[in-house]
Symmetry: C3
């Protein structure tokens, strides 16, 4: 059995957005009790991650790490059509992931206690992001 849903996520610009409840709701709606839940972001300047969900400092520090590793406006970048956060957003997306799967067990994503599913907006400006959730199983 396959069930698919598109989620619409309005971001306020750079930062992390917790999708866990929306994804768990899609799994509950599917009626699937065992299998996998695939999450996919249809963009190349926003990405996904499974991240610690308890201390907001973790996400703050991940942002700091990325600003050091792939700084906005780095003069080595030539793809700057949309501004200084254009190419850095692509690099950040490549270093994290555009898709992830979580096992479904007993009708729920079998996340660890401290795991949340996050969309990471890498552009500075607000964006409308589309995420496709595909649940497959029995």
């Amino acid at each position: 059995m396959i069930r698919q849903q598109e989620l619409h996520v309005a971001t306020d610009g750079r930062g992390t957005y917790d999708l866990t409840q929306m994804v768990q709701a899609a799994v509950a709606d599917s009626g699937i009790s065992i299998g996998s839940c695939h999450v996919f972001v249809r963009h190349t300047s926003a990405s996904l991650m499974l991240c610690e969900n308890a201390d907001p400092a973790v996400q703050h520090d991940l942002e700091t790490f990325m600003q050091k590793t792939a700084p906005d406006g780095d003069p080595m970048f030539t793809h700057t059509a949309e501004g200084p956060d254009d190419m850095s957003a692509h690099v950040r997306s490549i270093l994290t992931t555009s898709d992830l799967s979580v096992p479904v067990t007993n009708g729920r994503c079998a996340l660890g206690t401290w795991q949340g599913i996050y969309l990471w907006e890498h552009r500075l400006a607000p964006h409308q992001r589309k995420v496709i959730v595909t649940i497959s199983g029995e």
Copy 2:
């Protein structure tokens, strides 16, 4: 339903190779209309990515970023049996991904407008790369 195909990709050495058309053709051949398409590279010195497909400068800049982050011949590396691009290729593979999945909707990979599926050859010399595409769904 499951359909599986092995793609053979001849690379001319380091750089990105657009697999989007080959993968979409495998999905079309499968007859599957809804589900997932999994792409897997059977190597540890070439990887996959979903990347911006319009401006070649993006891929050029990603190359520049990797050459800075994991430079060939970095003296900190001890695994140098196959030359200065041996260990850097493994690092680049680990930082990107060896497998990715894309949702299948209406018989096609539901990529975003600006997303393409790329193989990233990290070795300097030409290689023959094997990629397995597995489509599952209904």
Copy 3:
């Protein structure tokens, strides 16, 4: 058909642990001959990777690379509740992956000759890690 198993991996602290045999055994147990095998780590300070399986120097060099890129105790990190290897472990997890899938062909994971499936423990102290393996196919 879906088969799911939880693996328990006791680590001795930071380093890589080869899961290939355990995962291949789970695939063999499943009776599935074609499809996909999904591996998922239920933690945010240990991750997974597909890595070169022949020369231990590769894993040594990956450790060196991570120690340079995301050093323990970096003063830029504020999330330090569990010590200097707390935030660096989250960064290392984000840069690698929490989940991966391998195609199943003829009842086995269709890994390349030099590919192994590894758990990468990023914390210095020993931990008990849970890994869920989900095999789907026919």
